[in-house]
């Protein structure tokens, strides 16, 4: 085992403000694990970061195929880092297919680290290379470092008696060791993690640690010949406090549990497995001690119905899915609206229509969330902007559900669920508790049916009465009911009143939400870029860059999509133009036209990939220029 050389002797080749790294290989190469461990080390090193895993759709695609490539992209540097970056500057490719798929993304002049052992004729053919790209000149414009990662790894662990295939699985740790050397990182954090993770598999534990050290030592040796560069990446000046790395799914699960704690109610989370929403179920299943129960139902409809049953029973019912599953739940959402029960519905959006692109990201369920139910059936809709934001949006969504006795839709997406960032831990004591509508006092003079539907005039939430409470027995259902007595009513006048009441209830949410603010730039001017959901990161960076270039552009980002903040119309009117970039065919733009009579410029992208900073920046250039240039 070799010890790391003291860092002051090291030659810092590359000083940078930030860098984008992409790790790519077969599903079996352990790229995701390698990436998440590198992220943990990055956090402790003091860089800001943002990560995004890019999984193949197939669980076990044939080894060496281009469609089986699993990638992990990470942007790190001095803050604020809000996206996993556009074009990688460093690519680690474990096989020809990974190179083939990732090369078009790579920045010209970027560094490619290849596992040359995998560049066999067979693998080249599988990747669709007629000739070895290392020899054709197509890699000439990059810095190429080809290393026998597989054999060096096997050599390092040969004393552990592992089979060739088992031993080969350690090569992600070998590569991680090398990466850690390239970024001047301490190995101990990863060693500790391996010891915990592989505690009951001592052979793998020791082999992985040996591989990690070997990769690191390889870097040191290679340094002598300066074959492998080292990077010195700017650290960030994050606000003081305690941090952790967090993915959207983690933040969402903790936010749901936090909402239960703040409301002093338990949670029943009911769902049916679907990509990319399932990680939420997996996470929540581990939070039992926070008063969270999880129920895997027989289908999407049963999942939402069981959640409604839970809310009816006095707990906070939560269900979650992705677009196709949400479609199945819509009838039951109407029931929750009609029964005036609280409910949280999480949609981790993915590429559509139909089965679409399950593992890719999109924002195309906004219409579905706002308009997609039979009848006039409004529900509040919120969207999270970043992994850590999922925590706060979950709390906010439950707060609205309980305050107004209504189902609430929370939109996230495949990108947010899996992306990760450093996150300043909240102080739970400073978050306002969540109030719910208390049960009325029993009044034997009056029918309990009417008591149960006596709504709070400000929120239009009715008392939350659950079976088991004496003296408050009542009948509830999907049929229209009398606005006062709560009994079934087919009266024409009453139906109009009830429809108005449901609309007014959702509209009343706007009284409780903060006014829309400007994230970057002036509050009036030429151009406002308005976003929602997970496009926050790229829009933020694009606007910042444009501002640095001296362009007058501002940025605002919506959390509340229904109802929208009361000042939004005024805010938009302060700008000559409003640019709305979104990962759909213009759904927020439609909404702005519909609700506010605005006339935004839409930038649509529906490729299953997140927006890039560059493309948003280009859009800003286009529209700022035309506006200042005085063209019509």
């Amino acid at each position: 085992m070799r010890r790391r050389a003291p860092s002051e002797f090291m030659k810092k080749e590359h000083k940078r403000n930030s860098i984008v790294i992409r790790l790519a290989g077969d599903s079996g190469d352990g790229v995701q694990l390698m990436g998440s461990q590198f992220a943990a080390s990055t956090a402790l090193h003091g860089n800001d970061f943002s990560t995004f895993p890019d999984f193949p759709a197939e669980i076990r695609a044939p080894a060496g195929s281009t469609f089986g490539v699993s990638a992990y992209q990470m942007n790190l540097g001095g803050g604020p880092i809000t996206t996993a970056g556009d074009a990688p500057q460093v690519l680690v490719a474990f096989n020809p297919a990974a190179l083939k798929v990732s090369l078009p993304l790579l920045e010209p002049g970027g560094l490619i680290l290849l596992n040359s052992d995998s560049f066999t004729t067979r693998n080249l053919v599988k990747a669709g290379y007629a000739n070895d790209p290392r020899e054709t000149g197509e890699l000439d414009s990059y810095q190429l470092v080809a290393t026998e990662i597989s054999s060096l790894n096997l050599e390092a662990i040969k004393d552990f008696g592992l089979s060739k295939s088992d031993g080969g699985r350690c090569k992600n740790f070998w590569s991680l060791g090398l990466l850690l050397w390239m970024f001047d990182r301490d190995l101990q954090l990863i060693v500790d993690w391996i010891q915990r993770k592989f505690a009951d598999q001592p052979v793998f534990r020791d082999a992985n640690i040996a591989a990690l050290h070997s990769g690191h030592a390889f870097g040191e040796t290679a340094e002598l010949s300066a074959a492998i560069p080292q990077f010195d990446i700017e650290r960030t000046a994050l606000a003081p406090g305690e941090y952790r790395g967090i993915s959207g799914a983690e933040a969402l699960s903790l936010g749901i549990a936090a909402a239960g704690e703040l409301a002093d109610r338990n949670i029943l989370f009911c769902s049916y497995p679907i990509t990319p929403a399932s990680p939420l179920l997996h996470r929540l299943a581990q939070l039992g001690e926070l008063g969270v129960g999880t129920f895997q139902a027989e289908d999407e409809i049963a999942a939402i119905c069981a959640a409604i049953g839970a809310s009816y029973g006095g707990m906070i019912g939560v269900t979650s899915s992705s677009g196709p599953g949400i479609a199945l739940k819509t009838e039951a959402m109407g029931l929750a609206v009609n029964a005036e029960l609280p409910l949280l519905i999480v949609n981790s959006q993915r590429g559509g229509p139909s089965t679409g692109l399950p593992t890719k990201t999109e924002q195309s369920d906004l219409y579905q969330a706002i308009y997609g139910r039979n009848g006039d059936t409004p529900v509040p809709v919120l969207a999270a902007r970043s992994p850590g934001d999922c925590f706060y949006v979950a709390i906010e969504a439950v707060r609205i559900a309980l305050r107004h006795m209504t189902p609430v839709i929370l939109l996230t997406d495949g990108f947010l669920s899996n992306a990760a960032e450093p996150w300043l831990l909240p102080d739970m004591n400073t978050i306002e508790v969540i109030d719910s509508n208390p049960a009325p006092t029993v009044d034997t003079e009056r029918e309990s049916q009417a008591l149960v539907f006596e709504r709070n005039p400000e929120t239009l939430g009715r008392p939350w009465v659950a079976p088991g409470m004496p003296g408050l027995m009542h009948r509830l259902g999907g049929l229209e009911k009398d606005i006062k007595s709560g009994h079934i009513s087919y009266d024409a006048q009453n139906h109009q009143l009830m429809t108005n009441m449901r609309a007014a209830k959702v509209a009343s949410v706007a009284k409780f939400i903060p006014p829309q603010s400007i994230e970057l730039g002036e509050t009036t001017g030429d151009l406002l870029v308005l976003g929602w959901g997970s496009t926050y990161g790229p829009i933020f960076q694009a606007v910042r860059r444009a501002q640095q270039e001296g362009l007058a552009v501002s940025f605002s980002h919506l959390r509340h999509l229904n109802p929208m903040p009361a000042n939004l119309a005024d805010l938009l009117q302060g700008f000559d133009r409003v640019l709305v970039p979104e990962m759909n065919m213009g759904q927020l733009s439609t909404l702005l036209r519909d609700k506010l009579g605005a006339n935004p410029i839409t930038y649509c992208k529906v490729s299953g990939q997140p927006l890039t900073i560059n493309e948003v920046e280009q859009q800003i250039h286009m529209h700022v220029t035309s506006s200042t240039g005085g063209e019509a």
Partner: protein
């Protein structure tokens, strides 16, 4: 202070909307009586229904009631039972609601054995949507949607239940106060999901469809009233009995007076016997056909699986259950 409630205490003031002469009235009466007899508490009792004539039931019982959406009552009831297992949760459904649009939920509810008491009003027809054939209609049933007769094979609620892994299945006739009453009592006592199929006469769209065994004149010969551990006898004078033919693996009707020793006794724990009883055409088996004890889902949910729904932890600690670092 006396807390004894009567059947009347379980009745609401709501105007009943079923057709005059509908079998549902009789069921409502027997159910409210059964609740009173069992000493049920109104606040701890909930009736959950889907859509259909039968699903109006909750409006007429003065307990908690939730009239949900088509086919989904078992799922809503499951959520309720999970969050408050002390409640007596009843599901009221029909052959269309429970076996057609909601077939999947019924299947999985039975399989889980969660503590719901499910009353399946089987009238072999869609009543509320005006008389189309249902999954339990006999092939050839002429209805507005099957003017030349329906094509589908008839679904047997009992065979479905046993196939799904049900732990309690019983049958009764709507107007049979005694038979239905005792079945309801047994269903309520069963720890887990109880499925009770009630032959319910739809006087408007499928009148007398069960006449072959419900008519007074032939009832004695056409109904087998099961009692666990008792010989399986029927006929006006209990002169007929069921015997297991070991050659054909069928239940034969024999002369019970002549060969009492060959009359089989009902064993409600025997699933194979239950299957044979369900398949009998005449006599029609009534009463508790199958019952087997198993831990109900909600118990395992609390003790072994998922959370105990007691908040022992703090979110502030859960947030820190990973690598954290401090920026100063």
């Amino acid at each position: 202070m006396s807390t004894e409630l009567t059947a009347k205490d379980f009745t609401t003031s709501q105007e009943i909307r079923w057709c005059p002469g509908c079998g549902d009235y009789a069921i409502l009466k027997t159910v409210t009586k059964a609740l009173a007899d069992a000493g049920a508490k109104r606040e701890n009792t909930a009736f959950i229904s889907g859509i259909g004539c039968s699903s109006r039931f909750p409006y007429y019982v003065d307990t908690y009631g939730f009239h949900t959406i088509h086919g989904r009552a078992p799922a809503v009831a499951t959520g309720l039972k999970l969050v408050n297992p002390v409640l007596d949760v009843w599901v009221v459904t029909g052959d269309g609601d429970g076996l057609s649009i909601g077939g999947n939920h019924l299947l999985h509810t039975l399989r889980r054995n969660i503590g719901l008491k499910i009353l399946l009003f089987n009238n072999e027809i869609y009543g509320l949507t005006k008389g189309q054939y249902s999954p339990t209609s006999r092939p050839g049933t002429r209805t507005p949607s099957s003017p030349r007769g329906s094509l589908d094979t008839q679904l047997s609620a009992g065979a479905f239940a046993l196939g799904a892994g049900a732990h309690f299945f019983a049958r009764a006739i709507d107007t049979d106060k005694k038979g239905l009453g005792s079945v309801l009592e047994a269903a309520q006592k069963h720890d887990g999901t109880s499925l009770v199929e009630i032959f319910q006469n739809c006087i408007v769209y499928n009148d007398n469809v069960f006449g072959a065994f419900t008519d007074k004149a032939t009832a004695a010969d056409a109904q087998l009233r099961l009692q666990h551990g008792e010989p399986m006898l029927f006929g006006a004078d209990n002169e007929k009995g069921l015997s297991l033919n070991t050659k054909t693996l069928q239940l034969d009707v024999i002369d019970a007076k002549k060969h009492p020793e060959n009359v089989m006794r009902h064993d409600a724990h025997n699933k194979i016997l239950a299957q044979m009883l369900i398949e009998l055409n005449l006599p029609v088996a009534l009463g508790v056909i199958y019952e087997n004890a198993a831990a109900p889902y909600e118990k395992t949910f609390y003790t072994e699986h998922s959370s105990h729904f007691t908040r022992t932890g703090k979110v502030a600690d859960a947030l820190r259950r990973t690598n954290t670092w401090t920026v100063t």
